[in-house]
């Protein structure tokens, strides 16, 4: 019996604590008659797991922008609330419910991974919310919800760029990681290859699970298929360099290499990949942004102890633009999600990505395009 009393007491305490917190939650109203003192923006991002490196850097960018937005004289302050989407849909939905129902958030910067965004987008309208993703690139996002926007480039543009390059060969192989980003690039590349280069044959199409670190048999299988070109399509991170390092152990004899953003960030040579192997690898990704404003932003973040190495130039810009845009519209429209949604769909804006940008009623920001890079001595060099 004493243990029963203890258990009941524990359960009641938990319940009381929780209800106390629930009671403190902001009122669940969609409109405010006057400018609110605080506007909340929810960020759904992978705070744990392999993609957490993105979130850490995103937070540094957001903190930098918030310092500019929340000046001492600002009438409305912007507060950011983070929740862990774990780079997968079910967790993102749980995060969304918590932010909407408990924190009263109606404006979202997120998801980060396409699977997070795809999961949350259908729920936005019924919750009276609007979301701008800085990183989600899967074309399936378009059309899921009029309340979901993305500042990223589209995977099908990357796929088109890769297919254009791969179409120069008659036999190609693709090695993809089993994650939403790589899966999106893979599907877009294969679809565009069929359209643009119907004579190009995919002689090997290998997928490895996330977390796999031994690729030697997979690489040997791809090599045995005798491709003329290989597309390496892993997720960004140290494992991408590991894949390339293991590939360098085999003899590829004049086979051309292509890839996505995975090798843009760090100096691939430092990761133990010999330059003789990686030199000439073509990377297709977002266009380079080398404006002084972005350089200054990145320098400020670095000076504050942060990093934008994994995000790269484009996603640093899109994250900064995302938070700036949402904050500006939130202040202007007093946090009214419906008006913010209309403004996003119809207005043009200037940001780190570029000038005169617009969504034009679409989910993705228009006119971003792609960029081509070539690995030279371990570093990605932009090709104009």
């Amino acid at each position: 019996m004493p243990s029963l009393t203890r258990k009941l007491a524990a359960a009641l305490t938990l319940g009381a604590l929780f209800l106390a917190g629930c009671g403190a939650a902001p009122a669940d109203t969609a409109e405010a008659p006057a400018a609110p003192a605080v506007v909340k923006i929810g960020v759904i991002a992978p705070l744990s797991g392999d993609a957490a490196a993105y979130s850490t850097e995103m937070q540094a960018v957001i903190q930098n922008r918030l310092a500019k937005i929340n000046t001492p004289t600002a009438a409305t302050k912007v507060e950011v609330v983070y929740e862990d989407g774990k780079c997968e849909g079910a967790s993102a939905v749980a995060a969304f419910h918590k932010l909407v129902d408990f924190d009263g958030v109606r404006l979202f910067l997120g998801g980060v991974c396409s699977s997070e965004t795809l999961a949350v987008a259908p729920l936005l309208q019924q919750a009276g919310a609007v979301a701008v993703s800085a990183l989600s690139s899967n074309p399936a996002i378009a059309g899921v919800s009029p309340a979901q926007f993305s500042l990223s480039y589209r995977d099908d543009d990357i796929g088109k760029g890769l297919a254009t390059e791969l179409g120069k060969h008659t036999k190609v192989a693709i090695i993809s990681e089993q994650i939403d980003y790589a899966q999106g690039i893979h599907d877009a590349t294969v679809a565009n290859l069929k359209k643009l280069a119907p004579n190009t044959q995919i002689v090997a199409d290998e997928v490895f699970p996330t977390g796999e670190t031994n690729f030697r048999n997979l690489l040997a299988k791809v090599l045995a298929a005798k491709p003329e070109a290989v597309l390496f399509d892993p997720n960004v991170g140290k494992n991408a360099a590991n894949l390339l390092r293991q590939a360098a152990e085999l003899k590829w004899n004049g086979i051309k290499f292509y890839s996505n953003a995975a090798y843009l960030a760090a100096d691939v040579g430092l990761a133990g990949v010999p330059n003789t192997f990686s030199n000439g690898m073509v990377l297709i990704d977002a266009p380079q942004i080398d404006t002084p404003e972005l350089a200054a932003l990145q320098a400020e973040i670095k000076a504050a102890g942060g990093s934008t190495e994994n995000l790269g130039a484009y996603y640093t810009a899109s994250t900064a633009d995302g938070i700036d845009l949402l904050a500006k519209l939130a202040i202007e429209f007093h946090g009214d999600a419906a008006q913010i949604q209309t403004a996003l769909a119809t207005s043009t804006f200037d940001g780190f990505i570029g000038k005169g940008l617009k969504f034009g009623g679409e989910a993705f920001v228009q006119g971003v395009g792609v960029g081509k890079y070539v690995l030279t001595d371990g570093k990605a060099v932009y090709q104009k």
């Binding site: 699970p209 796999e212 031994n214 048999n217 299988k221 494992n239 152990e249």
Partner: protein, 292 residues
Amino acid sequence: MHFLQILLTSFVFGTQVMLLAVALHTTYAVSRIFQLAFGAVGTALAYAVWAGGQAGFGWFSNFILFLILAGGLAAAHFYLLEKVTVHHHTLIGTLLSFAFGMGLEALLAIIFGADGKQLTAETFAPWHFGELTLPFSGVLTLAFGGVLATGFVFILEYTQAGRQLRAVAENTALATGQGVQARRVRLIIFGVVTLLAGATGWLRAWDTLLTPNLGFNLITVAFIALVVGGPRARLSGTVAAAYLLTVVPDLTVSLTSGDLSTSWKPVLVFGLAAVLLLLRPNGIFTRTQRAV
């Protein structure tokens, strides 16, 4: 030649799994508990080596750090499970070890981050045997694996310590009655096996990439190999099962064209284990006893 290349690379992975399976088999013998935490323990020790390298330790200092941490982890693991071992709560013990291992992995992810680390910045040229290629880490794994496996068999079969271990595994009460200190035998086994797990983690990390769940991928297959080989049977069954469950799926995936890529391997491991378990529920080399 492609077949031989695949076989050679599979043997390296098979050896890493075999080493952990031997660790599981040995500790199961003295405790009747599946010590699933050894995957994470091996990973933790590999991180220790990496951290020592980052801190500028020489190889000897790093080795001492490895030994000290191995001792600490072995003691923690042992004392966590000793009571349930002694009271024969074997399924509770298995779950405890599983939870300890996963907790250790979560802790490693918090401390070191989820992104992978290269164990050493030094690169060694791969070895070539005709047209076959094997990275230096792979050569070391095969050599190490052979030496360790042989050493284990020798100790078990031909030394006093091995006889004591087998006595405790066979009948703890009787062994204790004969003067064998079962608790001390178990503690020593935990210590030795922790070193083995650490060596395996280090080899795996060197061969691939150091991540918090490096040991998880190995221990899951090792665990399946132990049961397929027969946990109460001879070590040879476990060793054979470890190689079967790594080499066969690898060969199947690598030698078939079409949609069967690496991501399907766990399904193949499951299918093979299911078939073997259904055909030989007591272990692949175990004969059926008289049914009454």
